[in-house]
């Protein structure tokens, strides 16, 4: 039995965490994502599933609590918004380097610095290219509806444990604050300590049985060859992720002469822009990357022969557009349209920008 509710994207992140059997949430409030922890506090899952919900003293403490929980093989997560996410990046690098599973949510606001609390997609580089130090990647999921906010918490934990890597849900104030109809799933029980030991005992610090050596979780490797091997192992994992986990959605791309590429909130606006264009006889389509790492490079390559042009639409000064240009490799013109400061373009404005770029 599924239940349909009207909820904000932020609220269903919290419900998704509870329902998928999350063991712990550690966070620090910041607009526009505070409803995540507020909802968890209202739901009191510690009285039902036994999930821990804790407001830490800072974002740095939050991410390190996630590190501790993840070491024990627990399903743990945190959430923040841009300035808070910057504080978490050191911890994120340690989590990636230590091959630890966890879910992070960044409900992006405008930057740089303290910026604005209005929606933005200006953290694409930080999310997709690293953010913290060193050669690492995290799987980045970009929900475009409240339903996907809910579903991607489940998916995020599945991927995090499948690959032993942090998974980042990259969303923004618009998807976080918007209410939509969401189908909730039945409660999945949390794993018992015994189940965790059985499933993850090969690497997690679940207590040392007499049958094996102790598990040591660390990102430290002072010996040159050991460090190189650690990085090669990480890179091999990222190549598998690139092969197996690309997710995207296309709209009216089959006969398209031109496509818009947009993710998250902007994909919603672009869907309407495509409908508007089609009503005027313009063969425009939409490619919506759902995973930003791994990026749908092959799908873009596949479409190149049919395309006269691509326009990236982002709430930034142009970040994802660089990955599109890498995929296109100069074979098709790639242009960009973006707005800042929380100015969300209307579908008409997106279409006008497209016409300015390509229809003159």
């Amino acid at each position: 039995m599924t239940e349909k509710v009207l909820k904000k994207g932020n609220e269903v992140i919290a419900l998704g965490a509870i329902h998928c059997g999350c063991d712990g949430y550690f966070g620090y409030p910041i607009t526009p994502q505070s409803e995540i922890m507020e909802t968890l506090m209202e739901e009191k899952p510690w009285e039902t599933t036994g999930m821990v919900v804790l407001q830490a003293e800072s974002e740095i403490a939050s991410i390190n609590m996630v590190h501790g929980g993840a070491c024990c093989g627990k399903k743990v997560m945190t959430s923040s918004s841009s300035p808070g996410m910057s504080l978490m990046c050191e911890g994120l690098s340690y989590l990636a380097g230590s091959e630890l599973p966890c879910v992070l949510v960044n409900v992006v606001r405008g930057g740089p610095g303290l910026g604005t609390i209005q929606p933005s997609q200006g953290d694409y580089f930080q999310a997709v290219k690293g953010g913290g130090h060193g050669d690492y990647r995290v799987i980045v999921l970009a929900p475009f509806s409240a339903q996907e906010m809910y579903d991607f918490v489940w998916l995020g934990f599945d991927l995090a444990f499948k690959y032993r890597t942090p998974v980042l849900i990259l969303t923004d104030g618009m998807i976080g604050q918007m209410m939509e109809k969401v189908e909730l799933r039945p409660q999945k029980p949390r794993l018992s300590d015994q189940e965790v030991a059985e499933l993850y005992g090969s690497w997690a610090t679940t207590g040392k049985p007499t049958t094996r050596q102790e598990n040591i979780i660390t990102s430290l490797a002072l010996e040159a060859r050991v460090h190189e091997a650690l990085n090669q192992k990480l890179q091999a994992k990222y190549r598998v992720i690139e092969e197996s986990e690309v997710r995207f959605e296309t709209l009216q791309c089959e006969d398209a002469d031109y496509i818009l590429v947009a993710y998250g909130s902007m994909a919603r606006i672009c869907e309407s822009a495509v409908e508007l264009a089609r009503s005027q006889g313009i063969k425009l389509g939409l490619l919506r990357p759902i995973t930003l790492f791994p990026f749908p490079v092959k799908e873009i390559e596949r479409m190149i022969p049919q395309l006269k042009g691509i326009m990236s639409v982002e709430l930034s000064t142009g970040q994802m557009v660089e990955d599109i240009r890498l995929a296109v490799s100069g074979k098709v013109p790639v242009t960009f349209y973006g707005r800042l400061g929380g100015v969300i373009p209307t579908p008409q404005e997106v279409l006008d920008a497209f016409k300015t770029n390509y229809m003159k």
Binding site: L6, M179, E180, R268, I344
Partner: protein
């Protein structure tokens, strides 16, 4: 059916909750809905607005170019949103505190004296339900039984004893909408 609505006024007038009840009513009759608020500092005493879309089909953009209906509760919002009503669309406004009234001739305009009606009911908090009543009278996109179901879902159970009062306010609003201009 697809109805794109903006509800705009001061923070505290119940703009966001009116939108939520409307959206929930849509869900109760199995429609797709989006509820997109302005948020942040403007909610704390300044202007507040919410865009509600109710549709039989999947909704792409929750932000729209123009509105089928604008429900307007203060002067700033009237100035901002009157030009954004689709030709042939509907504008409902509370004339209380309005000095520059709507002027368009290509849209249907109704007024609802909701402050006055709420005072007559002796319940200032019924204000937004009176306004909602006026809308429901003019655009029958959701059934009354679904609005009541939506109300039950939108407000916490400890306040469910207030539902008959809300229902009464909606009915008052239905009877109090005044035609200003019809296209």
């Amino acid at each position: 059916m697809k109805e794109e609505i903006i509800i705009a006024g001061f923070g505290g007038q119940g703009v966001l909750s009116m939108g939520k009840i409307l959206a929930y009513s849509g869900i109760m009759q199995d429609q797709e809905v989006t509820w997109m608020p302005s948020y942040g500092p403007e909610m704390r005493g300044g202007t507040a607005n919410v865009t509600v879309v109710i549709s039989d089909k999947r909704i792409s953009s929750p932000i729209v170019n123009a509105y089928d209906t604008a429900i307007i509760l203060n002067q700033q919002s009237l100035n901002k949103f009157e030009p954004m009503v689709k030709p042939g669309g509907l504008l409902i406004y509370d004339p209380n505190g309005i000095t520059r009234h709507p002027v368009r001739k290509d849209i249907t305009i109704y007024s609802i004296e909701a402050v006055e009606e709420a005072a007559k009911l002796g319940n200032a908090k019924a204000y937004n339900m009176i306004v909602l009543g006026a809308f429901l009278k003019l655009k029958q996109i959701v059934k009354m039984e679904n609005v009541i179901k939506g109300l039950k879902k939108s407000i916490p159970e400890r306040h469910h004893h207030l539902i008959p009062m809300n229902e009464q306010a909606i009915e008052v609003g239905m009877g109090a909408a005044k035609e200003i201009h019809q296209v």
